[in-house]
């Protein structure tokens, strides 16, 4: 393994759904809170603009990956910066991946505890979720790809649940006048929105495993743009339906939004929504878990990745276990995602600049 050639195992659609599942996480539930707290009525514009920034950043990642089509970010940063410094950069990414996995686990357990299983101790949820993630992580990447395709089909259906509440309670006037919050405010709101997009840096780790590179690059951008569209749609529908003050205070507005729908045979529809969202959280946890093991394997040139999977599990568990109350989890998550965003905004640009400077990479034979 290590510096050896990475086996291209992912079809473009698998690559697409793997990225999509990695990004679509906690943000899908609370993006409208972030948007309204930061900006107000015009939060959806910030979401769109934030999405554009993320896409530009992804282009930088893709540019780097095109110079080293067979290498992950760990491998090419080792080539550009040397073994030691490159490995250190890799470790920064590992830390971010492990923390995101652990904190998502904590959030998942909190949501499950508050909606579905009130009396189950959270550590049982951590353990079961981690064991299932471990089960998929010790398998090949192509199996994670196949699983994410199935889960993509499963949770894309649930976005249609965003439509009925608007028709029941929506008031289009809530959206107008557009731009009242002031353009400066809208721009200022972008950083806190970017928080919800964390996860797109996975493209630099999974890209070398994609089969059709050219198509996969496009598909990677497509998955981000679809995500941006879904997020914008979610924020717009919720701003139309809910009063602003309510949106600012709700912890996960999307769930409250879904529970407006009433079905004769189910008292509350949000149990179905939350249950299906467990799949989304699982997808995030397993993607970052897998990415972390892959990164560690490439930093230290370990042969047996399964061993790393088992080794990391207690680490993720303890991050979730010691994250504390929900307010602390929220704060930790904010720190972890800001750190990740900082990494993905700066590192690839530096690496790309250096690779041009040292004339390293460039083409499939690099």
């Amino acid at each position: 393994m290590g510096q050896e050639k990475n086996d291209p195992a992912l079809t473009p659609f698998q690559f697409f759904s793997l990225l999509f599942g990695g990004m679509l996480g906690f943000g899908s539930l609370n993006i409208s809170r972030f948007a309204t707290v930061a900006v107000g009525r015009d939060g959806w514009i910030s979401v769109l603009l934030g999405g554009i920034i993320v896409m530009i950043n992804t282009l930088v990642f893709i540019g780097l990956s095109k110079r080293f089509p067979e290498k992950t970010i760990i491998q090419y940063s080792k080539i550009i910066l040397g073994k030691f410094l490159g490995g250190a950069i890799g470790l920064l990414f590992v830390i971010s991946a492990i923390f995101i996995a652990g904190l998502t686990l904590a959030i998942t357990a909190f949501i499950i505890n508050s909606w579905i299983l009130t009396f189950t101790p959270p550590y049982i949820i951590y353990i079961t979720m981690l064991l299932v993630s471990l089960y998929v992580c010790i398998k090949d990447l192509k199996i994670l790809g196949r699983v994410s395709v199935i889960l993509f089909f499963l949770h894309i259906i649930f976005f249609f649940l965003f439509i009925p509440p608007v028709t029941q309670m929506g008031n289009l006037k809530n959206l107008f006048p557009i731009g009242k919050s002031g353009w400066i405010n809208i721009l200022k709101g972008i950083p806190s929105i970017l928080y919800c997009f964390a996860g797109y840096e996975l493209i630099s780790i999974f890209y070398p495993y994609a089969q059709e590179k050219k198509k996969s690059a496009k598909v990677g951008l497509l998955s981000i743009s679809i995500l941006v569209m879904i997020y914008t749609f979610a924020v717009i529908t919720q701003i139309i339906t809910f009063p602003l003050d309510y949106l600012k205070k709700a912890w996960v507005p999307s769930v409250n939004f879904i529970s407006i729908i009433s079905v004769p045979f189910l008292e509350r529809l949000d149990i179905i929504f939350i249950s299906s969202w467990i799949y989304v959280f699982f997808k995030v946890i397993s993607s970052f878990y897998y990415a972390a093991t892959l990164e560690i394997q490439q930093i230290f040139n370990v042969k047996n990745r399964k061993f790393i999977c088992v080794l990391i599990a207690p680490l993720i568990f303890s991050i979730a276990f010691f994250s504390g109350t929900i307010n602390q989890i929220d704060r930790f998550t904010f720190v972890a995602t800001s750190y990740t965003l900082g990494l993905s905004l700066t590192v690839p640009i530096i690496l790309l600049g250096l690779s041009f400077l040292f004339k390293k990479g460039g083409g499939p034979n690099a």
């Binding site: 659609f13 199996i143 790809g145």
Partner: protein, 533 residues
């Protein structure tokens, strides 16, 4: 010289040109007993064979003389339980005793060639010198002709055909479509396939597996459609089997599977010739086993197990609706008791108040917790199912009716279960019968218990985790190197036309591309050509 010629002749006559599957290869490699060589002395040969078939009362030897040649006695040997007496009398003995007079030693032909070419009126005659072949031949129902002063021996095929009539398969009956099913004879089965598929590219490769049973196994495929590495893989796996006996296709299934502990069947089996032909046309490989009416088809996908041949004989909409019903019923069959259990015990706040009243009435008097109650009922229904399937015909039906009605009613009256639980379990079992494959309904049964276990500990979260485990497992298994969940994941848009629903047959132009067939498009490729108007 004559040996060389005979050897060439033997190679010409032998049905399998490739040495790998030829007759000799399947003789035991390191047997404990070493049969003596054929000698030109008739009595010596007979003695050796008598020693081999000692204590076999059906072993017959008939010695006689051809007229004019009194000094050259003949003997025929056979197992009279395997040999067709009419053929033996009319096509072997009669010509031997009458026509053989025409032989004169002035002819350049040797007497053995004369008997082979001009005397015996049976199509399958082989000359040999190997004792091992003679013994195998006798065991296959052939008649051996030994001549004094000749070391060549004639093996004459004279097998009695013992088979039942062609009947409709019990488990795969359809309301529209062909009603014939495979029998236990592999030759009949191949002819059933050939009658439907008049294609010279349909290849039948014969293997003999099982050192003692010497079971004939035929691998069928259409040469210019199927992916050749798949055939190679199948043949390699089959010929590497080393065992003393193959009694049914189920034995081979286990050798072909990559995940023997998976609850899901990775090899399809059918008793319907039309289904085998359809699979061959898609680029799959069929494996027919002598002595077993069911035929293996590899590779398969999960969605195929939800399909019935009837889907293609009915109209599109009807077939599509039936398929959706099957998927829904598989989901119900696996997870309905678990969802009911978790709603009842963990998440009663999500059920509307009118419904919860209905579900909870009388529950307070029940002695068992809900999980145990469901398990008891499931166990009872499993008992009824097994009992009625073991008993014959009407007795089985009676057992089923008595068991289900009496037990269900009595259990409610005796306050062991609540009526709603009985309804849930009954729905579950009914829906498990909708799945058209027996093997799959078995795996659903196993998974149902996994679900109930998960639901009783973790409620709906446990059910979701159990489904995740199933999804991951399904994604990771492969059938002969093809992903099991294709064409859903990895996704093939064209093949999806024949998956969840069925598109009109006119629209299904391509073969399933995940099988990597040599020819993807289904038309304009036959040697018969397109029909001229």
């Amino acid at each position: 010289m004559i040996f060389v010629r005979l050897k060439k002749l033997w190679h010409k006559l032998s049905p399998n040109p490739s040495p790998k599957e030829s007759f000799e290869d399947f003789s035991p490699k390191n047997e404990s007993f070493d049969p003596a060589e054929i000698t030109s002395n008739l009595d010596n040969n007979l003695e050796t064979l008598l020693k081999t078939f000692k204590n076999s009362s059906d072993f017959s030897i008939k010695r006689f003389y051809i007229e004019k040649n009194k000094e050259e006695p003949l003997a025929i040997l056979y197992l009279d339980t395997l040999v067709d007496t009419i053929t033996l009398n009319k096509n072997i003995l009669e010509p031997l005793m009458h026509k053989s007079m025409k032989y004169s030693s002035s002819n350049k032909q040797s007497i053995i060639d004369f008997l082979d070419k001009s005397c015996i009126t049976v199509s399958d005659v082989i000359q040999t010198k190997e004792m091992q072949e003679i013994i195998t031949g006798i065991l296959l129902g052939k008649v051996i002709l030994l001549l004094h002063n000749h070391s060549e021996v004639l093996i004459i095929d004279c097998k009695k055909s013992m088979e039942r009539d062609i009947e409709e398969p019990l488990l795969e009956s359809v309301s529209r479509g062909a009603r014939d099913g495979f029998t236990e004879s592999v030759h009949t089965n191949i002819s059933l396939v050939r009658q439907r598929l008049k294609d010279p590219f349909l290849k039948v490769r014969k293997l003999v597996i099982g050192e003692r049973t010497q079971t004939e196994v035929c691998v069928l495929y259409i040469e210019d459609i199927v992916n050749s590495s798949l055939v190679k893989n199948v043949i390699q796996k089959l010929s590497s089997i080393q065992t003393d006996g193959i009694l049914s296709d189920g034995y081979l299934e286990e050798y072909l599977e990559e995940n023997p502990y998976s609850p899901f069947p990775q090899v399809d089996n059918t008793e319907r010739p039309d289904k085998v032909v359809a699979s061959l046309l898609e680029g799959r490989v069929a494996i027919l086993v002598d002595g077993s009416p069911s035929t293996l088809v590899v590779p398969i996908f999960l969605i195929q197990l939800f399909q019935s041949p009837e889907d293609y004989y009915q109209r599109t909409l009807y077939a599509g609706m039936l398929r959706l019903l099957r998927y829904l019923s598989a989901f119900i069959s696996v997870s309905f008791p678990a969802i009911y259990l978790s709603l009842l015990t963990y998440h009663s706040q999500f059920i509307p108040s009118t419904l919860i009243e209905l579900l909870l009435t009388g529950r307070s008097e029940l002695p068992f917790p809900a999980a145990l109650e469901i398990l008891i009922l499931l166990f009872q229904v499993d008992l009824i199912q097994e009992a009625s399937s073991r008993l014959l015909g009407r007795v089985g039906q009676a057992a089923g009716i008595v068991g289900s009605i009496v037990l269900g009613q009595a259990a409610i009256v005796a306050n062991i279960t609540s009526p709603s639980t009985v309804v849930v379990i009954a729905t579950t079992f009914l829906s498990s019968y909708v799945v058209p494959r027996y093997a799959l309904s078995f795996s659903l049964r196993i998974l149902r218990y996994l679900m109930i276990f998960a639901a009783s500990f973790l409620g709906i979260y446990g059910v979701i985790m159990a489904w995740l485990i199933i999804i991951i497992h399904l994604c990771s298994i492969e059938s002969m190197g093809t992903p099991y969940l294709a064409p859903i994941s990895p996704t093939k848009i064209q093949s999806l036309k024949d998956s969840i629903v069925r598109f009109p047959i006119k629209k299904m132009v391509n073969r399933p591309s995940e099988l990597n067939p040599k020819k993807l498009v289904r038309k304009g490729e036959s040697i018969h050509g397109t029909r001229k108007k």
